[in-house]
Symmetry: C2
């Protein structure tokens, strides 16, 4: 979109990124505080196993996923391939942590004899997890695995970016639904009496929404997009030449 | 639909818009079906007053708000001012319907002696309503009220678009939270037994998320953006010259 050569980072970008990280870390800390202060903490081999679920999901599918999306804005002038690998790796970490969170809740349900997958939260959660995994696989195949034709990469890139943002937002929405579910199950009528746990959890919900908003803002601001189209094309051509052995001229 | 000199609409856009409208209408119909079949229908002067709240919010702050965002994609070749007025009017309709929904729930709470504004859904809801009203006022002042300098308009436009999308997404998220709240309050343990109402409401939740995703997709696809920058600039200059009577260069 932009023609400029690799420029220095926009002046305001670092402040916005720092703010998003502050929000993200506060989010994780407040989740920990909620689980520690009001839900008895975390332990795998007990009733507290459930509590691993919200913590893992907030760390993996909200904080780390959000940061993985920001990699291309933060490392604007690094080699494209390094940035790609970091983007892919952060998503792997997020996926593994989310998997632990998923095992925690299914294992807890099994031990307690609770029904699985009846709620809107669980439907959205499974949808997020499947979409996230598929998006990672397709992204890896197109962008990291050396072999996808350049023309295909160019056509898929906007879809990858849109679905990346959409899956992230659905993750935030699913976390909000889960938080609400936990509050209504555990607090019941006390929720409407402005119990401290309810107020803290509401603040946590607002932090989730704000983190989602901050990541989306940094991601979508047109003048903050990664500038190096030229480098990117050259690199893709390199891959293409290396792996296909044909001339770089043929789209 | 076309009347201008600008480029013809992208071939796939009408299909995506039609799909989004089908989703939106299904969403409203399923909300009506849920309230009619399982919640006793709607009446203002009874306990059924509450049910006006979800219906108004889904029609106003989800369906109409989403359609107001799509106006610039659907009416690509109409005069910019006509499109602007339609965009502003749809938002007014949405706001008025949402206000009725807001009055319904506060009035119902007052009659029943229920506490107000304790839940995450209500916090998000009030936030959405205030942001939506402020965004409308600022948008009107900058873009419809003839007087804002062209340079200010240009600088504010990206913020207006980002916050418009963000407020819409927060509206969808808030609706999901409200749906979840209604289900857990009303169904209780029956929710986990896959009662028909629970399954229908989960489907409604997925429809809400899908409508949000469809609107976001149409809105963000780069090659579907409204093309007529030249006309837009000329029109803004016209307004400026007409209303301020000064040269288009100042400020």
């Amino acid at each position: 979109m932009e023609g400029g050569a690799a420029a220095s980072a926009p002046a305001a970008l670092p402040y916005y990124v720092a703010f998003s990280q502050l929000l993200g870390l506060t989010l994780v800390a407040v989740t920990g505080a909620w689980l520690g202060l009001y839900r008895g903490g975390i332990a795998w081999e007990s009733d507290l196993q459930f509590n691993a679920h919200p913590l893992c999901m907030v760390i993996g599918l909200v904080f780390l996923q959000g940061d993985a999306l920001l990699v291309y804005r933060v490392f604007r002038n690094e080699a494209k391939r390094t940035t790609k690998v970091l983007h892919g790796l952060l998503h792997v970490f997020a996926l593994v942590i989310a998997l632990v969170g998923l095992v925690a809740v299914f294992d807890y349900h099994r031990k307690k004899g609770y029904a699985d997958l009846y709620s809107l939260h669980s439907w959205c959660g499974i949808l997020v997890f499947v979409l996230y995994f598929v998006q990672w696989l397709v992204g890896f195949t197109f962008f990291l695995f050396p072999g996808a034709p350049f023309s295909l990469r160019s056509r898929y890139r906007p879809q990858h970016i849109f679905f990346g943002a959409a899956i992230f937002l659905l993750s935030v929405g699913t976390a909000l639904l889960g938080l609400k579910e936990a509050l209504l199950f555990n607090l019941g009528d006390k929720y409407s009496a402005f119990e401290p746990e309810g107020v803290l959890a509401n603040v946590l919900g607002l932090l989730l929404a704000c983190f989602g908003g901050a990541v989306l803002y940094i991601l979508t601001r047109a003048d903050w997009k990664r500038p190096s189209q030229a480098e990117e094309q050259a690199l893709s051509m390199d891959f293409k030449t290396l792996t296909e052995g044909d001339s770089p001229g043929s789209q």
